[in-house]
């Protein structure tokens, strides 16, 4: 056997590094552009100066630090978290159409929060409704989304067909929405109001305290994701092969589901349901990086997720006008074409198995 020459021991190839470079620059530019947009016009140079030195016209500093910066950070976190949770779900279910929104994970998170705010609190602390802590909300969202994930796993072990699971996911989503409506119907006026305000949540309504909880949760969720890169690569081959490679499939799935629930649940808890980011971004990453290796895909999905949501938020501002479109509608318009493309392409060959 001759010794193979020139073996490269590199984490990322030169080509991939180049793509990452370009994407990171795009991310930074979009972030700045997102800060630029709003009803009050602040010159671009002033924004950069305020960001770098913290000094400038007091009114502008307040606008940037109190409103625009938290919103842009929220958009960044939401894009990253939803996309990574989508990638994880697509790999674990080996289903190119899996994502937190289509499979009802976001709806599950809403259900968790609804039960906390409407059902639970109506019984216990009717008067003190607005005092439910952010951690309680986010935990309820995690449990709700984790529950739906588990249900879908149970079903997907019996049913192999991608489309069937998708339809079942939509059913689960509709069922949870129905339960939420019933809860609303029976709940107290005060708690109902609080809940309705919560459901209108958007990128811009996240408070400073909430942003802290959100950032912490997303960092923990992403930490688990990056720790499970090897597991995700093995799970890509399916349960049998993963097992034969020595993987503890059950424990790996639970670990990945914990991270998926934290990521999708936290975002839904504070920003409301944001659709089609989780399903679309992993496919864009696969297309751009042309790989199935999660070391690269996860990083790529992360950056592209941030880019896509910042971009959607910029579009939502309808540059030049003072109105803001709901972010969910914008992401749907951006994401749905990708989903349609997957379905059409899938007629030829499936992306998984």
């Amino acid at each position: 056997m001759t010794e193979p020459k020139n073996i490269q021991v590199r984490l990322f190839s030169r080509k991939h590094l180049l793509i990452f470079g370009v994407l990171l620059i795009a991310l930074v530019l979009l972030f700045l552009l997102d800060l630029f947009l709003g009803s009050v016009r602040i010159p671009f140079s002033e924004i950069v100066r305020i960001l770098l030195s913290g000094e400038g016209k007091e009114e502008w500093v307040t606008i940037i630090y109190k409103f625009r910066f938290p919103k842009a950070i929220t958009a960044l976190l939401a894009g990253m978290a939803l996309s990574v949770s989508g990638l994880q779900m697509q790999t674990v279910f080996r289903n190119p159409l899996a994502g937190p929104y289509v499979l009802g994970i976001s709806a599950g998170a809403s259900l968790g929060v609804a039960i906390l705010m409407l059902g639970f609190s109506s019984l216990i602390f009717t008067s003190n409704i607005l005092n439910i802590g952010n951690w309680a909300i986010v935990t309820a969202a995690w449990i709700g989304s984790g529950l739906i994930l588990f249900l879908i796993l149970m079903v997907s072990m019996r049913v192999r067909d991608i489309m069937t699971i998708l339809i079942l996911g939509i059913m689960f989503g509709s069922a949870t929405t129905a339960v939420v409506s019933i809860l609303q119907y029976f709940s107290h006026e005060t708690s109902l109001k609080a809940f309705v305000v919560w459901t209108m949540g958007s990128l811009g309504h996240v408070s400073r305290e909430q942003l802290q909880v959100l950032s912490f949760s997303v960092i923990v969720g992403l930490g688990i994701s990056f720790a499970s890169v090897k597991l995700l690569n093995a799970l890509l081959l399916g349960e049998t092969y993963a097992k034969s490679l020595g993987l503890n499939v059950k424990a790996s799935r639970i670990l990945i589901f914990v991270s998926t629930s934290i990521l999708a649940g936290s975002i839904t808890a504070f920003c409301g349901p944001i659709g089609f980011v989780g399903i679309a971004v992993p496919h864009i990453a696969r297309m751009i990086f042309n790989t199935a290796d999660h070391k690269i895909l996860l990083s790529g999905t992360l950056v592209l997720g941030g880019i896509l949501l910042l971009f959607s938020d910029i579009i939502a501002h309808v540059p030049g006008y003072d109105t803001i479109l709901p972010i969910n509608s914008v992401t749907a318009l951006v994401g749905i074409p990708v989903v349609v493309w997957i379905i059409v392409r899938n007629r030829k060959y499936s992306a998984f198995s």
Partner: protein, 345 residues
């Protein structure tokens, strides 16, 4: 009697499933089989007899119901999953067709039980992956997507992955299914070479009896209630092959070493001929249902002559002598002579 210590040994193994209501569904019991180092073992048996269940149990993918599986002397259940994965690798019937998954990356997944938590490939790992790709004859395929290559190439990628896993035992569930004939031979030849050259014990199930008989060192013949094992030739001599398709029309021909469909004889014919032309004419006559005997007093006699590379086919029927250009024309004519009118209802 075993002269060589086996790498894999089962004792009274019982395989099957535990159902939801905790009842056992036994697929097969009393399995006592073994395989030695450097051996290519073929499992043969009818559909549904339990070949896949046996392979999955041996590969540590499902628990046995009772009995023992000893891998290099150690009971399989006492090994950690990761330890077992360093000794046994597995290729299932499920094809892996993931778009964007590169051949190199799939083979590199074989390093899974050997790498750290992040799955980082060191220089040593990369060399092994490259070596596995070369052994499977896949050089130049490294950066191709596994969804774009042919079925045979994909199967070789899966074999390369088991090589990268560096296991002493490789188990493959029907690796030759879905392949065309040259593909089947190619895969079994690779498995045979690997067993002989690397000392791995390779166990595979197949429906291609012919290929298995020509290439396997050992056959586990999975009959409905008994597994007979031995060299292919042992099984021929002890007349055990005939038992596989007992319920079907197929009959095992011990001279040809193959299964044949029984033929209803429609008549007898005298035959005089030698060489290849003689051999193949005889085959054709047998195919259309004629008992071929040495030329004598038969009503119809065929003579084969080969002169200067030209084959002469001559039929003598009573006083008439007819010459034919090809075996096809001869058999067409004979069929018309011997044709029986079989009532359709």
């Amino acid at each position: 009697m075993e002269y060589i210590k086996p790498v894999l040994l089962t004792k009274n193994l019982e395989i099957g499933f535990v159902l939801n209501n905790h009842k056992k569904k036994i697929v097969y019991s009393d399995i006592n089989i073994s395989a030695a180092k450097g051996e290519l073992v073929a499992i043969i048996g009818q559909n549904g007899v339990g070949k896949s269940t046996l392979l999955r149990t041996l590969a540590n993918l499902q628990k046995s119901l009772s009995g023992e599986i000893l891998i290099k002397g150690a009971e399989i259940n006492e090994l950690k999953r990761i330890e077992a994965a360093r000794i046994i690798s597995f290729v299932s019937t499920e094809p892996v067709r993931i778009a964007n998954l590169k051949v190199f990356d799939l083979v590199a997944l074989g390093r899974f039980p050997h790498t750290n938590w992040a799955g980082r490939l060191k220089q040593h790992d990369r060399k092994l992956v490259q070596g596995a790709i070369r052994l499977a004859g896949l050089e130049g395929f490294e950066q191709k997507s596994v969804a774009e290559i042919s079925d045979g190439e994909r199967q070789r990628v899966m074999i390369a992955r088991t090589l990268a896993q560096e296991t002493d035992i490789v188990i493959l569930d029907e690796p030759t299914a879905f392949l065309d004939l040259p593909g089947k031979y190619e895969i079994v030849r690779i498995l045979n070479d690997l067993a002989a050259n690397t000392g791995k014990t390779i166990i595979f199930s197949t429906h291609d009896l012919n290929i298995a008989m020509h290439r396997a060192d050992k056959i586990w013949l999975m009959l409905p209630h008994e597994i007979v094992s031995g060299a292919p030739e042992d099984l021929v001599l002890t007349d055990r092959f005939a038992d596989i398709f007992k319920d079907s029309e197929l009959q095992f021909d011990v001279h040809k070493g193959d299964f044949l469909l029984p033929v209803d004889f429609i008549g007898e014919i005298g035959f005089l001929g030698k060489g290849l032309a003689g051999l193949w004419t005889k085959k054709a006559l047998e195919r259309i249902g004629l008992r071929v005997v040495e030329a004598g007093k038969q009503k119809h006699i065929i003579t084969i002559n080969e002169k200067n590379g030209v084959i002469q086919l001559r039929l003598k029927t009573g006083d008439k002598k007819i010459e034919f250009d090809s075996i096809y024309q001869l058999s067409l004519f004979l069929k018309s002579i011997f044709s029986r009118q079989i009532p359709m209802h």
